[in-house]
Assembly symmetry: C2
Homo-oligomer: 221 residues x 2
DNA sequence: CACTACGATTTTAGATCCAATATGCCGTAG
DNA sequence: CTACGGCATATTGGATCTAAAATCGTAGTG
């Protein structure tokens, strides 16, 4: 949930969020007010408001009287985040599989899966990553539970702070794609329990693949 | 006079949060800055910071250029909140049932269940309600997932905004108590799957009981 | 040469001030 | 009697300014 765009605070909020998620403000960086207010052409007040809002969402951490820092998401944090995503994505899949009006959603998901196949075939990792995020977002939005959507998207955002993504793991995109197909099939068939089970397994497998990959990388370096 | 050892914003935050959750600031109320800053003996700045923080957590809603209002939690909101709580409490129960060090937790939970039996026997609804919150909080804290704890406690807080609680439903406390005992037994026995299943069913039953009760009340009025 | 104490600088936290916007009331016209 | 429009008021959103806390560099001492 973002602050209203009509206010300057809202403007500073979205700019800052973008800067953090894009990595322009690197994890560990000390975010100070004055350079930002100069960059945005604003005074300190709306920038501070944006900083406190982002702190509440986990995109910044605050040390009293020292300021705001971009958090460093370590493997333990990733474990926490994936553990939450597992159940959140699971309940979202369960819900949409029970929707009488899920026809249009299934169409959009099928189309996204097709695009994902093309991206995997072309070895376009970054493109696949974007499509993957959109796939999960479609399901979250369609779940009709605004709070669920908000919390899950926040977790996805925090995961992006740890620059590592499971799409980087060799062979993972192809496997994830097959799991996406299974999930869509369960949703289309109207099988809530199955959809939840598959969605949870999908997230769990992504988490495990990434974790194993990072541990290999850690030993290699 | 002793200055607050933390920040004044933090002071205003906890005071305000308390005022909202206790119902002193009723749902629908327009929360304005100046009366609060006078009541707390602070200037506007820390009060505004507290308001924006509470807005991010769902304890206030903001209309641009109009201000902050205490949200009215309707039955649809309660459905959303309980749906989330179901999976959050479920994963927490699953985690603690897999902990090798769950002995102390089981002791605390057993003691809480005993107190709950006393409260139910004495027909002390408010006392039971507090013990119920503490029961679920113990499990969340012990889960070791800080983000899970934070999100789940936020949902519990938002549920408290809807003044209705399942503890008010005739017969529900006794039933919930029995479910608590089952959950503790599954945790003590080290059965993660069973613990998750029972915790989810427990939340679902509370939600259903409350929803049916409210629909009866709605018709009666 | 290392360590500590002190002071200058930076930066946050808070207070106060100002402008822009929404609301509510009242009078007037239809 | 109702609907519309403008004026007065209240309240937010934002800017500026001050004070306090932390950091960093430097100099002096053991």
């Amino acid at each position: 949930m973002s602050l209203p765009r009509s206010t300057l605070s809202g403007l500073a909020y979205s700019q800052l969020r973008q800067a953090i998620l894009s990595g322009r403000l690197a994890p560990g960086a000390h975010v100070t007010v004055r350079p930002l207010s100069e960059e945005f052409g604003l005074s300190a007040t709306p920038v501070k408001a944006a900083l406190t809002a982002l702190e509440r969402e986990g995109f910044l951490v605050q040390h009293p009287h020292r300021g705001f820092f971009v958090p460093e998401v370590d493997r333990e944090d990733m474990r926490e985040l994936y553990e939450l995503r597992e159940v959140l994505d699971g309940i979202a899949a369960r819900r949409v599989a029970a929707l009488p009006t899920r026809e249009a959603l299934v169409g959009r998901l099928t189309s996204l899966v097709t695009d994902q196949q093309a991206a995997v075939a072309a070895n376009d990792l970054s493109g696949y990553g974007d499509l993957d995020v959109r796939f999960h977002q479609e399901i979250l939005v369609a779940s009709g539970n605004g709070r669920l959507q908000q919390v899950a998207e926040n977790m996805i955002g925090q995961l992006r702070l740890g620059r590592a993504t499971s799409a980087r793991v060799p062979g993972r995109p192809a496997a994830a794609l097959a799991e996406h197909e299974e999930i869509v099939a369960a949703i289309a068939a109207g099988q809530p329990q199955q959809a939840e089970r598959l969605a949870r397994r999908h997230v769990r497998k992504s988490a495990n693949a990434l974790d194993r990959y990072l541990s290999r990388q850690g030993r290699a370096s």
